[in-house]
């Protein structure tokens, strides 16, 4: 049915192509080794005051063909409390997405199982951008590391993409607003009030 000679030529050409590609790959390996993409907290460090709300981004830099991702984040309970996780704009450049915000555990200091994926047989997204934005409330003075864990990036073939991680940190300053009145001052004012009240009542009785 199929001409054997034609098939032999086709296979030979394919073989030549493979050799050529192999050569290119080896050459590329000598010239340049592609760096793994970086998943980081942006900004990497910031200082806030207790009681203040703030947010940070989980950012990917230099990724190729990103189809889906997941991560978890650890922080110091008592210093920070996470309030929400929202999807960033990066993955949605490739099409519609399905975002799972994950589970906030402020007692344990974790955000677990945040995930996102493109929907459909699509190519992944290449480049750099924000994957998710996390909002916090600063609770009390102290410093909280922000550590990315359980990170998994998949390409459009559903293969894992190796990734480098960069943690962040947030320093919470104690509150510095209107100073609180001292207890002795309050006591003095109270006694003065009581004495003043007695004198006024006596003056009214005498008259």
């Amino acid at each position: 049915v199929r001409d054997k000679k034609e098939e032999t030529v086709m296979f030979s050409m394919k073989g030549a192509r493979i050799v050529l590609l192999l050569g290119i790959v080896l050459l590329a390996g000598v010239v340049h080794v592609a760096a793994a993409p970086l998943l980081s907290i942006e900004p990497p460090s910031q200082s806030v005051h207790a009681g203040q709300s703030f947010s940070l981004d989980v950012k990917i830099t230099g990724v190729t063909d990103l189809f889906a991702f997941q991560f978890a984040l650890a922080f110091t309970p008592g210093v920070l409390a996470a309030t929400s996780i929202t999807e960033g704009p990066f993955l949605a450049r490739g099409g519609t997405t399905f975002f799972i915000p994950g589970t906030i555990d402020n007692a344990g200091g974790t955000i677990a199982a945040t995930g996102d994926s493109l929907l459909g047989p699509l190519a992944g997204v290449t480049g750099s951008g924000t994957l998710a934005t996390i909002s916090f409330q600063a609770l009390a003075g102290g410093t909280s590391p922000l550590t990315l864990t359980q990170v998994l990036l998949l390409d459009s073939q559903l293969g894992e993409i190796p990734v480098s991680l960069r943690a962040g940190a947030v320093t919470v300053q104690p509150a510095t607003g209107v100073p609180e009145p001292r207890a002795t001052l309050l006591l003095t004012l109270s006694l003065a009030g009581l004495l003043g009240g007695g004198w006024w009542r006596r003056q009214r009785t005498a008259s």
Partner: protein
Amino acid sequence: MHPHIIGTHSIGLVLLIVVSVLAGPPGLSISEGVTAPQITGSPALFPAFDTSISDYITRCASSPSVELTVNAPAGTSVSVDGQPPRTGSFTSIVALTSGQSFLLLVNTPTGTSEHVIRCLPSDFPTWSTERTGPTQAEWYMVTPNIGTLPPGFSDGYVAIFDNNGVPVWWLQSTTPPIDFKLLPNGNVAWQHAVSGRQRFEEHEFNGTLVRSLIVQPPVAVANDFHDSQLLPNGNYLLGAYSPRCCFDLSALGGSANATILDAVLQEVRPNNQLVWQWNGADVISVNEMHPQFRTPVNLDPGGADVFHLNSYEQISDGLGDDIIISMRHTSGVYRIRRDPGGADDGAIIWKLGGLPRPESLTIIGDPRSGHFVGQHDARLHSDGSITIHDNANGTNLPPRAVHYQLDQTARTATWLDEITDPAITAAFCCGSARLLPGGNWVMGWGANRLSTETDVDGNRLFLLTFDDVFSYRTHPVLLGDLSRSVLLAGMDAQFPRTDCADLALVKASFGKHQGQPGFDPGADINQDGVVDVKDLAFVAQHLPAGTHCP
């Protein structure tokens, strides 16, 4: 009375004329005062919707969805893809990717009809079809791949068409398949034809590979792709073109010291263990090569194709469990004695056609004095008759299906009948001729892109024409031999429908490990003990692009 369908299905274009005698044209009253719903699709449905037709395709691979426009008059209602039935005019969009399907339920005062609409891959070869009368076959099994397809089309499909010309089941093979057939055990099988990857493969309808078989040593080559058979004892009959030295082909115009491609048959067990082997050159002289095929290419001294085995089938007719073979290059059909261990094992019992030999049958009454030439698909029937696709190479006569009654005692073959097709004037290769029990013929007209079912007089009842390629054979499946539900279930298993509910299932268990509360094994798609982004992405990737899930 039966529907009459004439249609052409091409990329992005469906030209279809439906004149339905049974169901009537759109708008026809189906009961007093009630007309049938009208349903159209974008991309278009093939065939056009008719309440009497069950299965449709839409070439929707380039689109993430199918948009149906429904006009259901009062007294009728239509349910699209599990949605509540609706009356009146409405549109409904169903997300769908290649191979996936959805169900239409059409309710009328006379009852409810079910209709399946399935997404055809964009690379499926294009075809046209015509039905002009009742057929005796319910399905036609084809491999549209011989020839040159336009860029973007695949030569890897095995497909089962219904008698409306709709592909109801298909599977995309890794290499071009040949000789796609239904096995007696309910599975399907084909041979892979590409050099270096030749093998027999048996699959379930859900696509699962049951077994892959190759011919065994001492044969040092891969399978011949022309035919195969699952035997009653559970073993398999395979063939091979095995190089064998040394033969004197000088009488044929070839080398005096040539290697030939011997015709080899093997019976192998399901585990690929060799049980029995037959070598053609042991009992058939190279000088039986028909003059029509004594060409330099066929007489290549490095591998002269002197026999060209192209069909083989074990039969059981009370005279022995022998094998009927067809050899294109001898223009002969032979009965081979299969008697493992016996003195006559492998002997020629008779020969039909070709150059005469002592075992030749006398042909009586054939209007073609030269008999058949370059034939294919020799099949012996239980009544002792034999049918052949006569390619009629070099005769200046059109190819035909020819039918002889054999008298194996009197050693005669009496011509009974034959059919030709007015559109077929030549067929340099290939082809099949199947005489159905009811008298109709199902023909694969070889290198002509046409498959037909005709009545006993050769009048076309059904026509399937691929635009660019042809199928090596066309295997008919009779009504009742293969249920539609098996085909549909197989397709749904191959192309499961994924929707937002599946994503919700994964989301509910996301991050959970096996043993943790909330872990759902059904969400652990890759069964690695944790529901994570790998499961999420797998499900997500099977949704149509553009899907929005809350």
